[in-house]
């Protein structure tokens, strides 16, 4: 992988999104650097998922601008890949074909696909399941497949849309550590949306807290936990401090009732 200049990879300036009368978020400023993982937390409905889709170019902004590697974002582009909360696997394609999907669209040759897909399938731990169909594998395995599909295009930016929200708690933990392991092998810029505070602190270099109606960046907390992260990180006193800090930041009297079981 080539070493690029240390300019911000993702640059969000004054971003705002409105649906008719409803203003979802406004004045969002965010700079995400090379190989940095930034996690985005906030209460339900704060527009973090919408913001992520704006970064991917799926939804246009109402105001402000988003740029990736210096060029403005208007539609989905090469080098940026998204992992979806709902997995988004095509039920009629096998695991292999789903992983190959992004590559095929990008015009990769059969040889290239034949070389890369098996690598990524085994990277996410799905070796042996290439011929299986989504309905035959568990939710956790499906999300691994979704991950492999995104990774196969070797993006420089990964956008994670609450990727582990739809799997059970145990699988979620396992997948978090898997993702960290994969990131250690091939580090990349990541914008990770979640409404689990633990997940945000565990994964991120910085945690950005969105709050308010309309949502705005309330605080950015630097996570100075050592990398590589893993199970051991959860036991560190500093982890607890940071988690409590984020929790306290999100919580206030008025919101306590609204914010029930997110982490």
């Amino acid at each position: 992988m080539t070493e690029a200049a240390s300019t911000a990879r993702i640059s969000v300036r004054g971003a705002g999104k409105r649906y008719d009368a409803l203003e979802v978020f406004r004045a969002i400023d965010l700079e995400i650097g090379q190989r940095e993982i930034v996690t985005l937390v906030g209460p339900s409905g704060c527009g973090k998922t919408t913001l992520l889709r704006c970064v991917d170019g799926l939804i246009p902004l109402s105001e402000g601008a988003i740029a990736v590697d210096g060029t403005p974002v208007h539609e989905p582009r090469a080098g940026v890949a998204m992992v979806f909360q709902h997995f988004g696997l095509f039920p009629w394609k096998s695991v292999y074909d789903n992983v190959a999907y992004g590559l095929r669209l990008a015009g990769a040759s059969r040889a290239e696909i034949g070389a890369k897909v098996p690598y990524f399938v085994s990277l996410v731990g799905l070796k042996g399941f290439e011929r299986a169909y989504p309905y035959q594998i568990s939710g956790g395995m499906q999300q691994r497949c979704g991950l492999a599909r995104a990774l196969a295009t070797e993006p420089s930016v990964m956008l994670m849309d609450e990727p582990f929200a739809a799997v059970d708690a145990q699988t979620r933990e396992i997948l978090q550590f898997e993702l960290l392991r994969i990131w250690d092998i091939r580090p990349m810029t990541m914008l990770f949306v979640t409404h689990s505070i633990e997940e945000a602190v565990l994964m991120g270099d910085r945690v950005v807290v969105l709050k308010g109606r309309p949502s705005m960046v309330f605080e950015t907390i630097t996570v100075d936990l050592p990398r590589p992260r893993g199970r051991q990180t959860l036991g560190l006193p500093r982890f607890n401090e940071l988690r409590e800090h984020v929790w306290a930041t999100l919580m206030d009297e008025a919101r306590r009732a609204e914010f029930s079981v997110s982490s």
Binding site: L58, E75, P76, A78, L105, A106, G107
Partner: protein, 271 residues
């Protein structure tokens, strides 16, 4: 990576639809367009006797009001309903027997499949041979048309009753017949409703073709008679009533399924 990478999320017109305000408006507009095309198309290219919206509207009051039409409608619908009821009672019995008894199932399944696949029009010569050119023959046709779809779907339903339910019945020592009534029948209902939906459609077709063949009083015969005497507009009114029945049955059954069995998934195989 081609030049045309932009794919609209919901293609051409979603914005326009929003603009128009509601799906109802769109449907209404489409309906008006279709009627206009029908009217002008027929006026321009077809002989004078061919039905058109203006003609239908013109004759509508007199047709609806005429005793002949009303008795025809009553005759056809009565026959369909009677046939459905008979087919239901017999069909449920046979279907549940098929669904729950291995022996019964294996014994009669090819007869049921075969008779289900038999085009109901083909049976008409035989039915008239046995029942004559009477109302009874039409009734026999509607029963025949409806019966087998009910049997098949009732069998599917009875077969699909989860073992858990039956286990509960056994653990409370429910006698066999009681279990049938309390557990199997209610659990099979969604399948049955799907079967009734199909049966109603088939019974309607059966009644119409029977009336063509047998020439007994009814909507089918009304259509035949009027189209032969070039009163197409009048005949269309009868078609509309038949369409209304078809739609009405479906709507009723959809409503019943949603209301009483909201958990039933439509993905299940419907014959």
């Amino acid at each position: 990576m081609t030049a045309e990478t932009r794919v609209p999320l919901a293609a051409s017109g979603a914005g326009l639809a929003r603009l128009m305000g509601s799906t109802f408006f769109v449907k209404l507009a489409a309906g008006v367009v279709l009627l206009v095309v029908w009217e002008f198309g027929v006026n321009a290219w077809a002989p004078a006797y061919v039905a058109r919206p203006s003609g239908v509207i013109a004759v509508l009051p007199s047709v609806i009001g005429s005793g002949a039409f009303l008795s025809a409608a009553a005759a056809t619908l009565g026959s369909v309903l009677e046939g459905l009821v008979i087919a239901l009672v017999l069909g449920i019995a046979v279907g549940i027997a098929m669904g729950r008894s291995f022996v019964v199932d294996r014994l009669i399944r090819y007869y049921v499949f075969g008779l289900f696949a038999m085009p109901m029009v083909a049976i008409l010569p035989l039915i008239t041979l046995w029942f004559g050119y009477t109302d009874a023959a039409r009734l026999a046709t509607t029963v025949f048309a409806a019966f087998f779809s009910i049997v098949l779907n009732a069998a599917d339903g009875a077969r699909a009753v989860p073992l858990d339910y039956l286990e509960v019945g056994r653990s409370f020592r429910a006698p066999r017949l009681r279990a049938l009534a309390d557990i199997v029948l209610p659990a099979s209902m969604p399948y049955l409703l799907a079967g009734i939906r199909l049966a109603a459609a088939r019974a309607l077709i059966g009644a119409v073709v029977a009336e063509f063949f047998i020439s007994v009083n009814g909507l089918g015969f009304f259509i035949l008679f009027n189209s032969r005497s070039f009163h197409h507009n009048q005949a269309i009114v009868a078609v509309m009533v038949l369409a209304g029945c078809g739609v009405g049955f479906e709507a009723l059954l959809n409503w019943a399924t949603r209301r009483y069995f909201p958990w039933y998934r439509r993905d299940e195989k419907v014959r």
